[in-house]
């Protein structure tokens, strides 16, 4: 059953990304306009706009308003909804409501979302299907006391993780017993705020693993393939900063083993659509299942670049009921892709958000460089949504070449108006271990001495620029001539007023 119209319940770069594929497939795209970003770029790219901007009530964020979104979709007779990532993408209620209202949900079944969304259920399924796991709490931890008990059993360090969501929120590492109470409170509070669910579970914390995830595509007919791995070990407080595909740590044998484990996870919930299975890879090449993300991910472009497959297109085809047009043996990874996330964050102040207006943004167009962004000249980075400016994806034949191209591309990526993480990207590129492919999740804290890259003369040039601007301003203020009334004739009417 062909999809002719698609509502994208998301914003920014992913909305634009989905619109692009929809357009190529001849599907009419609908987007939602909010009062928080009435002039956003994604609104202009879509075919139709559904206006939620009369909603000034912050209690119900527009992109989380399930009923209103479904109502609007029905009213406009939209065939399908794509949730993007974040927001309602992994909300089983939303998927279920779509199914109830006969709107095709571009994603997995609500049951798969629910089961994989609950970390404890997911782990149980993994165990049943023979996928390796880490030790920890069997389910959600009731309170700090129980957390302490299990932690003492499993052995420190441990990590508390939100049961209902990811992305670094509701996560805290506990290295010592005395920190458990404080960390438990922080983690549960954050989880409650972010996912409406304060449940956290506890796991042994592997100190310096690599974070490897596998992209899965499955159709409604039971066919499942993996599209290779993504290396996502460079993280800060569990937020990814850059990703690559493939990973320098995997050889074809390990890839096959992990890929099969990923496929088993997907099959355990009869998964269909796109999904990602996350693993932790230890130094001895042993791996353990972490969780499955039942949605399209931010870093999907790197997989697209090395496999040549349009994942959004596949998601739509799968939703239409099509069979996968390829088998595992057809999947080939060509070359190397790296994605650099460029956020409006102040690296020198601990990555704090740098809100404001992007006055101008420009990058060099090139065959090996792909830029996915929702931001253009004049866009405002607001505190209501994330601080992403753009994803800079570089593809080349080898990792070496990809690194070289990355250097050039980052250098030529110019942004005026906010502080960005570009200097961080440069710092990473300078690091010799990173260049050798020798790193894990401790990279940021251990390897990178300085989180931003500074060339020696840059301070001098900046000092000059400031001084020049100042001197010029003083000059301007002083130079402009003042025209007083001396010598001018003044009308008698005005004089009369002054002589009062």
């Amino acid at each position: 059953m062909k999809i002719k119209s698609l509502l994208i319940a998301n914003r920014g770069e992913i909305a634009i990304r989905i619109i692009k594929t929809a357009r190529e497939m001849g599907i009419r795209s609908f987007v939602i306009k909010t009062a928080k970003e009435p002039n956003a770029w994604y609104l202009e790219e879509a075919d139709e706009i559904i206006d939620f901007s009369d909603n000034f009530d912050e209690a119900i964020p527009e992109f989380l308003d399930i009923e209103r979104i479904i109502k609007s979709a029905k009213k406009r007779k939209v065939d399908a909804i794509h949730p993007g990532y974040g927001f309602l993408a992994e909300n089983p209620d939303f998927a279920r409501r779509c199914e109830e209202e006969k709107i095709t949900f571009i994603g997995p079944s609500h049951d798969a979302i629910y089961r994989m969304g609950h970390k404890t259920i997911a782990k149980e399924l993994a165990r049943k299907h023979g996928v390796p796991l880490l030790g920890g709490s069997p389910g959600a931890v009731r309170d700090a006391e129980e957390a302490r008990k299990i932690a003492n059993q499993v052995g420190y360090p441990v990590i508390l993780k939100a049961a209902a969501g990811g992305g670094g929120r509701g996560m805290r590492v506990v290295s010592k017993e005395k920190d458990i109470d404080r960390m438990f409170t922080l983690a549960t509070n954050e989880a409650a705020k972010a996912f409406n669910n304060p449940d956290v579970f506890l796991e042994r914390f592997v100190r310096e693993p690599r974070h490897i995830e596998f992209q899965i595509l499955a159709d409604k007919h039971g066919n499942v393939v993996h599209l290779g791995e993504r290396e996502c070990s460079i993280q800060r407080k569990h937020q990814k900063l850059l990703e690559e595909s493939p990973s320098a740590a995997l050889d074809p044998a390990l890839r096959k083993k992990m890929g099969e484990a990923a496929i088993n996870i997907a099959k355990s919930v009869s998964y269909y659509s796109a999904g990602t299975v996350e693993f932790l890879l230890d130094v001895d090449n042993s791996f353990s299942f972490m969780e499955m993300n039942t949605r399209i991910q931010v870093e999907h472009p790197v997989t697209e670049m090395v496999t040549g497959i349009d994942l959004i297109e596949q998601m739509i085809l799968i939703a239409e009921g099509e069979k996968l047009p390829f088998a595992q043996k057809d999947i080939k990874l060509n070359g190397w892709a790296i994605e650099w996330r460029i956020n409006a964050e102040d690296v020198q102040s601990g990555f704090s958000p740098s809100l404001g207006t992007i006055e101008k943004i420009s990058w060099p167009e090139s065959d090996n460089v792909r830029v996915d962004t929702g931001v253009r000249d004049g866009s405002v980075i607001t505190p209501y949504y994330d601080s992403m400016i753009a994803k800079l994806i570089v593809h080349a034949e080898t990792r070496e070449k990809a690194l070289q191209q990355s250097s050039l591309a980052i250098r030529k990526f110019w942004i005026k108006g906010t502080k960005t993480t570009l200097a961080f990207c440069r710092a990473v590129l300078q690091n010799s271990n990173f260049r050798k492919g020798n790193f894990n999740t401790s990279f940021l804290s251990k390897e990178l001495k300085l989180h931003y890259h500074n060339e020696p003369d840059e301070a001098l040039l900046a000092a000059f620029f400031a001084t020049y601007d100042y001197a010029r301003e003083i000059n301007e203020n002083e130079e402009k001539p003042l025209h007083t009334e001396n010598g001018k004739s003044i009308s008698p009417w005005v004089l009369k007023k002054r002589l009062r």
Binding site: R169, L186, N189, E190, K193, A194, D346, Q348, S349, G350, S352, P353, L355, E359, K360, S362, P383, D386, S387, R411, W414, I415, K416, G417, T418, K419, T420, T421, L422, A423, F424, C425, R426, Y452, H453, N454, E455, D457, E458, A459, L460, L461, A462, A463, F464, F465, A466, T467, Y468, D469, Y470, A471, R472, N475
Partner: protein
């Protein structure tokens, strides 16, 4: 009426960095700087899109004034920001003098690094804090951020309350060094 001859006002300006490094420029408007003992021309351009850049050693460096308040600047060059205050020779001397005079036991203010809501205040007035200790939980961009004290001392005064919304740079509390 005669008096001591007035000194010709020089155009020399000095950019003082946050780390107290002084960069001297004799005639900034002429776009010349002293580099490794020689006078070098600065090629400052504006590209058609409105970006300012300097061509230095055959590479382009993009520069942006991201913050400017009176004579205090924050410049971003190639993604890294640097803060300066632009001083005249006299005002620089004055600044150095005043820094010497500054009371070493004065209170340091802890400011909000970003706008958000105060979720929890972990210390009380009069309490001892150590460098590295968390003192306030600030919620922003849906994350709970711990604000860490960067000095050791005693909490002199707390200017915010639980559940209060704060803006960037708002003073949260003052800590007396020592």
């Amino acid at each position: 009426m005669a008096r001591a001859a007035k000194k010709k006002q020089s155009t020399k300006l000095i950019a003082l960095s946050a780390t107290n490094k002084a960069y001297e420029f004799k005639k900034p408007l002429e776009k010349k700087i002293k580099y490794q003992g020689k006078e070098v021309d600065i090629k400052l351009h504006e590209d058609p899109k409105g970006f300012s850049y300097i061509v230095w050693k055959n590479k382009k460096y993009m520069l942006d004034v991201i913050e400017k308040k009176q004579n205090r600047y924050t410049i971003v060059v190639n993604g890294v920001w640097h803060s300066f205050s632009v001083e005249t020779p006299v005002s620089l001397k004055r600044k150095r003098y005043l820094e010497q005079q500054a009371d070493s036991s004065s209170a340091v203010s802890i400011e909000a690094p970003m706008p958000g809501k105060i979720i929890d205040i972990l210390v009380e007035e009069g309490a001892e804090v150590k460098e590295g200790e968390p003192i306030i939980i600030l919620e922003a961009m849906k994350m709970q951020n711990e604000i860490i004290s960067h000095i050791t001392g005693i909490v002199k005064s707390i200017s915010v309350k639980k559940n209060e919304s704060v803006m960037k740079d708002d003073v949260l509390m003052e800590i007396q060094k020592g």
